[in-house]
């Protein structure tokens, strides 16, 4: 294995083929296109989080805050600024990204459980704001009254507002760009400094790497990526609500990353797919979805701490 999480060429190729063809095979196996879109969006969110969790070794447990800020940013932009999907994505990404960068500067000196506690607690600030600021955010009922808009590029017109499949491919394109940037980043010298910090912070420092600065940049980038995912999520649902910001979503994102495999690039996407599909299926059967998720957390920690791809890779390269 080289520095960044490369799992060998066949795996990424298979993933891209599956994603490209998803609208065609999802139906026959009992799924639906919007479920695929959800997997892409939450997968992107979990992969963004994993830049910190798996590749920098920093335990951020409040990432739903940045995801939710992206969602609210995009929704508010559509509602109050302009009827433009690209602008909504941009403003959503900036909202969460900037807030994350600011908070990151405040907490980069903390580590381990201290860092986890501070990120959880600060994440809840935005939950309370969204919950309380009724006039702007719609409070507990969530933000409504906006809808994603079609995109017109010269002669091309993309009917993403009404056509779920077109929207899927739009999200897939966004996903591909974001994931491509992440992959480039992880293979760059900067990306390798993050691995260095994950592996041994002290050694990194004594190689002349200012650890706090690099963690801060990684934190800010991770927030930018996850807010982008959050903005896409608001477009998917034409809705944003305080639960998008709540720490239980942070927990869900962490478990997706762990379930799929934190140490592999694609693991969090796989984890998101499993999680989203299970959620969709189980919540149609029982109202005790919470117990089920709780049990999933416990089982993953006890039996799959390296995640699904972690197990595959261990067997592949051992």
């Amino acid at each position: 294995m080289s520095a960044a999480g490369r799992t060998g060429a066949p795996v990424p190729l298979a993933i891209w083929v599956l994603l490209l063809l998803a609208p065609f095979w999802l139906g026959p196996v009992g799924g639906y296109t919007a479920l695929g879109t959800r997997v892409l969006v939450l997968g992107l969110a979990a992969m963004s989080l994993n830049l910190l969790l798996g590749f920098t070794g920093v335990l951020s447990f409040g990432h739903a805050a940045w995801f939710g800020l992206g969602a609210y940013g995009a929704g508010l932009a559509l509602k109050f600024v302009a009827l433009s999907t690209p602008l909504a994505l941009l403003l959503g990404t900036l909202t969460g990204g900037l807030a994350g960068a600011l908070l990151g500067a405040l907490i980069v000196h903390r580590r381990g459980i201290y860092f986890a506690m501070v990120t959880i607690a600060f994440g809840q600030v935005f939950y309370y704001i969204a919950y309380r600021w009724n006039s702007l955010t719609g409070g507990d009922d969530g933000l409504r009254g906006f809808a994603r808009q079609d995109i017109t590029l010269g002669p091309w017109h993309l009917d993403i507002a009404g056509n779920g499949t077109a929207f899927y491919y739009f999200v897939l394109t966004c996903f591909a760009v974001a994931v491509g940037l992440m992959a480039l980043l992880l293979r760059s010298p900067f990306g390798r400094t993050l691995l260095a910090i994950r592996e041994n912070e002290r050694r990194a420092r004594f190689l002349g790497i200012p650890v706090e600065l690099h963690i801060w940049i990684a934190f800010a980038l991770s927030c930018v990526f996850i807010s982008f995912a959050g903005a896409l999520y608001a477009l998917l649902n034409n809705f944003a609500d305080p639960n998008n910001l709540h720490y239980s979503l942070s927990g869900d994102l962490v478990i997706m990353a762990v379930l799929g495999g934190m140490r592999s690039f694609w693991g969090p996407l796989l984890g998101a797919a499993v999680f989203v599909v299970l959620q969709d299926y189980v919540s149609s059967l029982t109202t005790n979805w919470m117990s089920f998720v709780g049990l999933l957390f416990v089982l993953v920690v006890l039996f799959f701490p390296r995640g699904l791809l972690g197990i595959l890779r261990r067997q592949g390269t051992a």
Binding site: A3, R192, L195, N200, G208, H214
Partner: protein, 254 residues
């Protein structure tokens, strides 16, 4: 002028004084050893030089510049590199990746989000060079954490070398090693010293290694510098003998 100049440096942790007003100079190209019984404050002294901890009092100058308050990572940029008593490497990366990170850090590339073809080639050459110097070329593809103990120690020295330092601080490089490995490391250190005219400060317990390598030896006991001189002077110093014998007697008593 001395490359490194420590003046009356002290450090206490709570009521414990680990280093008490120690002064020491290292000339460019000099190989210096720091010895002393366990708990003498050698590692704390190293931490003061390398910036891992701040001195409670005193100053540290490097190449004429006061670096007392400078964070560790900046000292690296000035030309100071160190190893640790317990090996500090990146265990779940390959040896080559370990060194690559060091080479890129030294080349000031650490913030680059991409690397051009020429820069990448230069980095690769740098990695090969250091691997070769440390005699680790054959093991480049192995996970660093899975290497033999001696190879891990050598790998850490190689990472320090990749930083192209002017001063190299080695904290017990032969700790936990067998005869052959100790010999190999000793030879490596001497070669670096001679071929590169690298200034080295060495903490070491193995007296054969110390007396074989060092130009000058400083002796710490209970945080205080009790002797500083050539190997011959140190061997004849009554206080040094007393310090070691005293501790040996303590250790022998139940």
């Amino acid at each position: 002028m001395s490359l490194l100049e420590v003046q009356a440096a002290s450090r206490s942790f709570g009521s414990l004084v680990a280093v008490r007003s120690v002064s020491l100079t290292v000339a460019a190209g000099e190989l210096r050893a720091v010895i002393g019984p366990n708990g003498a404050g050698k590692t704390t002294f190293f931490n003061l030089i390398s910036g891992a901890v701040r001195p409670s009092a005193g100053t540290v100058r490097f190449d004429g510049r006061d670096i007392t308050g400078l964070p560790a990572w900046r000292r690296v940029a000035l030309g100071m590199a160190r190893t640790f008593q317990i090996t500090e490497i990146f265990p779940e990366l390959t040896l080559a990746a370990n060194l690559r990170i060091a080479v890129e850090a030294a080349a000031g590339l650490r913030l680059r989000p991409w690397l051009g073809r020429r820069a990448a080639a230069a980095v690769a050459r740098g990695v090969e060079e250091v691997l070769d110097q440390a005699g680790l070329t054959a093991k480049a593809g192995r996970m660093a954490g899975e290497l033999a103990h001696g190879d891990q120690r050598a790998a850490e020295i190689a990472m320090a070398l990749a930083l192209r330092p002017r001063l190299l601080l080695l904290d017990e490089p032969t700790a936990g090693m067998g005869e052959q490995e100790t010999y190999d490391i000793t030879r490596l250190v001497r070669r670096l010293h001679q071929e590169r005219a690298l200034a080295i400060v060495l903490i070491e317990h193995d007296m054969r290694v110390v007396f074989h390598l060092a130009d000058r030896i400083a002796v710490l006991d209970q945080g205080t510098l009790i002797a500083d001189g050539t190997p011959a002077e140190i061997a004849a110093d009554a206080r040094v003998q007393a310090a070691y014998l005293g501790h040996a007697a303590e250790a022998a008593a139940p």
